[in-house]
Symmetry: C2
Subunit: 523 residues, 2 copies
C-alpha cells in the first residue's frame, strides 16, 4: 500500500483546498512528507450523505457478515503493521513497543467486537408471545430488538493514534452495531490515520460492504468537526479528547433541530487513595509503582493518576515518590501544543497558594520532553480550590495529605466525576475502605484495588467511563464489549406476520441469539 | 386515609405560600375542595437534599427489599382505590371504567418492576476472572454491575393521572433502579396526586425505607419544575407531556454545570398506513376500528392515530370513517386549556391550504367535549407543509391519500420521529410492506400490524419511545421492563477483595442474578 495523503469519502480518495497539514515529529521538530489537504464543508456533506445511503444496506447485514468485515479490517491493519507503527512513532513520539502493543489492542478490539456479534447478547432480543385468552383483553405478540442509530461521527484521539482513532474502539463498536462511520482524523497523526483508513477501505471493499460505510476526513476541528456533528445525517458522536472540545461538541449536538447523543471521554485526574495499612507494608514500592504509572507514555493517558491521597503521617511515601521522580527523565509528548499546555498547567499549580513543589524529573530540552512534576497540599486547600481538579495532561500529580477518615471522605465528596479511583489497602484498612466505597461508586466508572489505573483491560467487564465531566454520558463505556450499546436503540414489533419479521426475531432464531422469551432467559 | 392537601417532603406534609391550586371538574367547571398550596424553591431544595441523603441508604437495599416496597405501594393504592378513582374522575373527566383500568395498570407496573428486581437481569452482571498466566501480561479480576444514577425528578402527566403520574411508570422504574424520586405533581389532578402520594409514603414507612426516598411537590412548572431539574442533587428526569415543556426541560438539563439525562416522552402523530389489499377486505371495519382508536379517551393518548395514509383509490375508507365519526359524540377533555388548544389546532388545520374537512362529530357544549374532526389531504401537501406534523392533542386526524408505493415511501421519509407506526396489510401487500419497513424502523419505536396503536402493553418487549421529537432519548422506553435501564449506569470493580465486593458481584451470587462470566451467559 502506498500512503495516499487524502481524505477518503465512500472508498474514494478526495483532495481538498481548505488548508493543509503535515505530520510533525515532536522529538525533532521535523516536518514529515507528504502534505495532507483539508476538505471543506461540502465534503462533510458528501461523506455524511454517503453514510446515510449506506445505512439501510449496512444495517441489514447479518452478524456474521459484520464480524467478517471487522476481522478483515484487523487483517489489513496487521498486513501493514510495520509501516503503521513506524509512521505513528514518527508522528507521535511514542516508542515502538508501546505502539506495537497499541496496534495489537486495536486489532484485538476489532476481533472482540466480531466475537460479540457472534454471541449477539447486545441485540437484547425479547419476545412476549400472544395470549389470546388473557383477561380482560388478549395480549398481542410483541418482539423487541435493538437497531443501530445511524451514521456515527468518530473523532480520532491524539493520545491513542491507533486504539482510539481511525479504527479504534469507537469505530469498531459503531460498525459492530451496524452504523456507518465518518472519522474526523486527528491532525497530529495524519499519516497514521491515512494508513489505517486505507486498511478499513480495503476491508470494506473485500467484505462487499456499501462504500459509504466508512469515510475519513482531514480538516479543522472548528469547521469540519463541528459541521459533521451538526449534520442531520449523523446520529451519534464518539470522541476522546479535551474537556473544552468535548463540551463544544455536546453543545453543538444539543442545539441541533434533532439532538443526538455524544459519547465524549474528556478528562479525569483518577484519584488514588492510600490507606495507612497499605502504606506500612512498603512506601518505597508504592512510590515506585505510582511514578511508573504517572510517567508511562509521558503521562498522556486518560487514566493517568494525577491525584494521590495519603495519610498526613505518611511514613515516607512523599519522600520516596519525590526521589524516584527526581531521577526520571521526561519523555517526548505528542505535540508541541500539548507540551506547552503541560508547562502552563505545572506553572499554574506551582503558583497556587497552599501548594508545595515536591520534586521534578529531568526535562530533555528541545524534544518536547518536559520534566515530570510532583506537588503536595492538604485537604483544606484541595477542597477550597476547585481549579486543583483540572486535569494537567502529562506526568504531573498532586499529593493530598488527609488527617483521618472523615477528612478523607469530606475531600472525596468534593471530587468531580472521574474515570477511575484506586484504593491501596490491606485487611486492617477494611473499615475505612467501606466508608469510602459508596463515595467512590458515585464518582467514578471503575474502582481498582492495589494496582494502578493506567492499564485498561478490553473485555466484557471494563467500564472506561464515568460521571460528568469525565465523560458526557455516564451510562456508557468507550472500552469493552458494552461499548456497542451506545450506538443502538430498541424497536418493538407487534403482531408482525412471520414472513416479515427480521431474522433476529424469528421463532426459529436463525442467528442463535440469546433471548428473553415470556420472561425466561434463554442463552 | 384523609386527603391531605399538601406537598410531601421526606414523609412530612408541607404547606407552601407560593400560590395555590384547586382541582377543577372539566365537565362542569366546578372547583373541588380542598385547596392545595404551592411550595417555593426552598422546598425544592429541601426535597432534593432529602432525596440525596436517602440515596446511599436506599441504593444499598436488596432487590427483595425494593420489590417488597414496590408491592406495598401497589397494596396501599389498591386499599384506597375507590376514592382514588372517584377523585381522578372528578378532576379529569375520564370515565370510571378507564380509571379503574388505569389503576390496575399502575399497580401492575409496580408489581412488574418488583418481579424484574427478583429476576435481576437489569443488573447486567459481568465477571471476567483473573488470568494470572496470560501473556504478555496477566489480566485482573474485573466485575461490572449497574448502579442507580441518583435522585430522579418525575413530572406527573395530565393524560394519565395514575399510570404516568405520582406512582406511574417513571416513579416505579426509578425506585426499582434504586433512585429516590421527587415528583412534581400535575396541577390538573392535585387530589389524585395527593392520595397516591400518601400511599407511597405509607409504603415507604412500612418498608423501612429512608424518608427521603419519596417526595411530592405542588407548584408552578416554570419555577418548581425548572428548579427541580436544575438542582445539583437531581441526576435524571422523567417526563410525559407537551413538546414545548419537554424541550424546555431538556435545555435546562443540558445547561447545568453537570448535564443530566432527560427522558421526555413528548409528542407523536402515530402514522397508520393502509395498503390496498387490506382495504379491499373491508373499508367499513377499518374505519370503525380507526374511529374507535381515535376518539377513545377523547383522543388524549400519546399513541393516538392522528395520521392515516390510504391509497388514493381508497375504496370507501374516507367516506366510511367520515360517516362513523359524524355520529360520534365528543368526550370531556382533561382541562379547559387542553380543550382550547384542541380547538386552535383544528382551526389551524382547517385553514391550511390543501386541507379538506371530511367530517366532524358532535360537540357537547359547556362540557369541554369538542367534536372529533377528520381532515383529508394529498402527499404533495403533506410533504410541503411541515406544520401538518404537529400533534393536535385530542380526537383529530388527517388522512393523506398516496398514489403508489414510491409516493408513499417519499411521504413517510419526511416524517419526524414517532412513538408508533401501524400497518394494515394482507398477504398480497407484502412487497409494498417490505419497502416501507426500513423507513418505519428508522422513524419509530414500535411497529404494529393490523391493529391500532392506542393499546400499550406493559411487558418486556414493549417500546414506548422513539426518535426525537417523539422522545428526547430514542435509546429508551418509558413503558415496560426495559424502562429501568434509564436510571442506572455501569461501574467496574477491579481486583476488589471478596469481603468488599457488593453482593451482586460475589462469587456465591447470593441474589441469584443472571451473569455473564468469562463470556458465557448464565441464567
Amino acid at each position: 500500500m502506498t500512503l495516499v495523503a487524502s481524505s477518503i469519502i465512500a472508498g474514494q480518495p478526495v483532495t481538498g483546498n481548505a488548508g493543509q497539514v503535515r505530520g510533525i515529529n515532536p522529538a525533532t521538530g521535523e516536518s514529515l512528507d507528504p502534505t495532507f489537504t483539508f476538505v471543506d464543508e461540502a465534503a462533510v456533506d458528501q461523506a455524511a450523505e454517503a453514510a446515510w445511503q449506506a445505512f439501510d444496506i449496512y444495517r441489514s447485514t447479518s452478524p456474521e457478515q459484520r464480524a467478517a468485515f471487522l476481522e478483515l479490517i484487523a487483517q489489513y491493519i496487521e498486513a501493514d503493521k510495520d509501516r503503521i507503527v513506524e509512521r505513528a512513532g514518527l508522528e507521535t513520539g511514542l516508542p515502538q513497543g508501546r505502539l506495537t502493543g497499541e496496534l495489537g489492542r486495536t486489532t484485538g478490539q476489532l476481533r472482540a467486537f466480531a466475537a460479540e456479534l457472534r454471541i449477539g447478547a447486545h441485540q437484547e432480543i425479547r419476545i412476549n408471545t400472544a395470549q389470546p385468552d388473557r383477561l380482560p383483553a388478549p395480549s398481542p405478540d410483541l418482539r423487541q430488538r435493538q437497531i443501530p442509530l445511524g451514521p456515527v461521527a468518530v473523532f480520532g484521539a491524539s493520545n491513542f493514534p491507533l486504539a482510539f482513532s481511525t479504527a479504534g474502539g469507537d469505530t469498531a463498536s459503531a460498525l459492530a452495531a451496524g452504523c456507518p462511520v465518518v472519522v474526523k482524523a486527528h491532525n497530529a497523526h495524519p499519516g497514521t490515520a491515512a494508513l489505517v483508513g486505507q486498511a478499513v477501505t480495503l476491508a470494506a471493499t473485500e467484505a462487499g460492504m456499501p462504500a459509504g460505510v466508512f469515510s475519513q476526513l482531514f480538516g479543522a476541528g472548528s469547521s469540519v468537526g463541528q459541521r459533521l456533528v451538526a449534520h442531520h445525517r449523523i446520529k451519534a458522536v464518539g470522541f476522546t479528547g479535551s474537556r473544552g472540545a468535548g463540551i463544544a461538541l455536546m453543545k453543538t449536538a444539543a442545539a441541533r433541530p434533532e439532538p443526538i447523543p455524544v459519547y465524549a471521554e474528556m478528562s479525569s485526574i483518577n484519584p488514588v487513595v492510600i490507606f495507612p495499612g497499605a502504606l506500612s507494608t512498603g512506601a518505597q514500592d508504592l512510590a515506585a509503582g505510582f511514578v511508573s504509572s504517572l510517567t508511562m507514555g509521558s503521562g498522556q493517558f486518560c487514566t493517568n493518576p494525577g491525584l494521590i491521597f495519603v495519610p498526613a503521617k505518611d511514613s515516607g511515601f512523599v519522600d520516596a515518590a519525590g526521589s524516584t521522580l527526581a531521577s526520571t527523565d521526561g519523555q517526548t509528548m505528542l505535540t508541541t501544543g500539548i507540551c506547552g499546555s503541560y508547562f502552563e498547567g505545572v506553572v499554574r499549580l506551582a503558583e497556587t497558594p497552599g501548594i508545595t513543589a515536591v520534586s521534578a524529573g529531568k526535562e530533555l530540552p528541545g524534544r518536547n520532553a518536559p520534566a515530570p512534576a510532583l506537588f503536595l497540599t492538604d485537604t483544606d486547600t484541595f477542597r477550597s480550590v476547585p481549579d486543583l481538579q483540572e486535569e494537567i495532561f502529562g506526568s504531573a500529580a498532586l499529593v493530598v495529605q488527609y488527617r483521618d477518615e472523615p477528612d478523607l471522605v469530606f475531600a472525596l465528596e468534593t471530587l468531580q466525576g472521574q474515570l477511575t479511583a484506586t484504593v491501596h489497602a490491606v485487611e486492617e484498612d477494611s473499615s475505612e475502605v467501606q466508608a469510602i466505597m459508596p463515595v467512590l461508586e458515585r464518582k467514578v466508572g471503575r474502582i481498582l484495588f492495589n494496582g494502578w489505573p493506567t492499564g485498561v483491560e478490553v473485555n466484557d467487564s471494563m467500564v472506561h467511563g464515568g460521571p460528568f465531566p469525565a465523560t458526557s454520558d455516564s451510562r456508557t463505556t468507550s472500552v469493552g464489549s458494552l461499548a456497542i450499546y451506545r450506538f443502538q436503540r430498541p424497536v418493538s414489533y407487534q403482531n408482525i406476520p412471520s414472513n416479515l419479521l427480521p431474522e433476529a426475531l424469528q421463532d426459529a432464531n436463525p442467528w442463535g441469539l440469546p433471548r428473553r422469551v415470556d420472561g425466561s432467559l434463554q442463552s
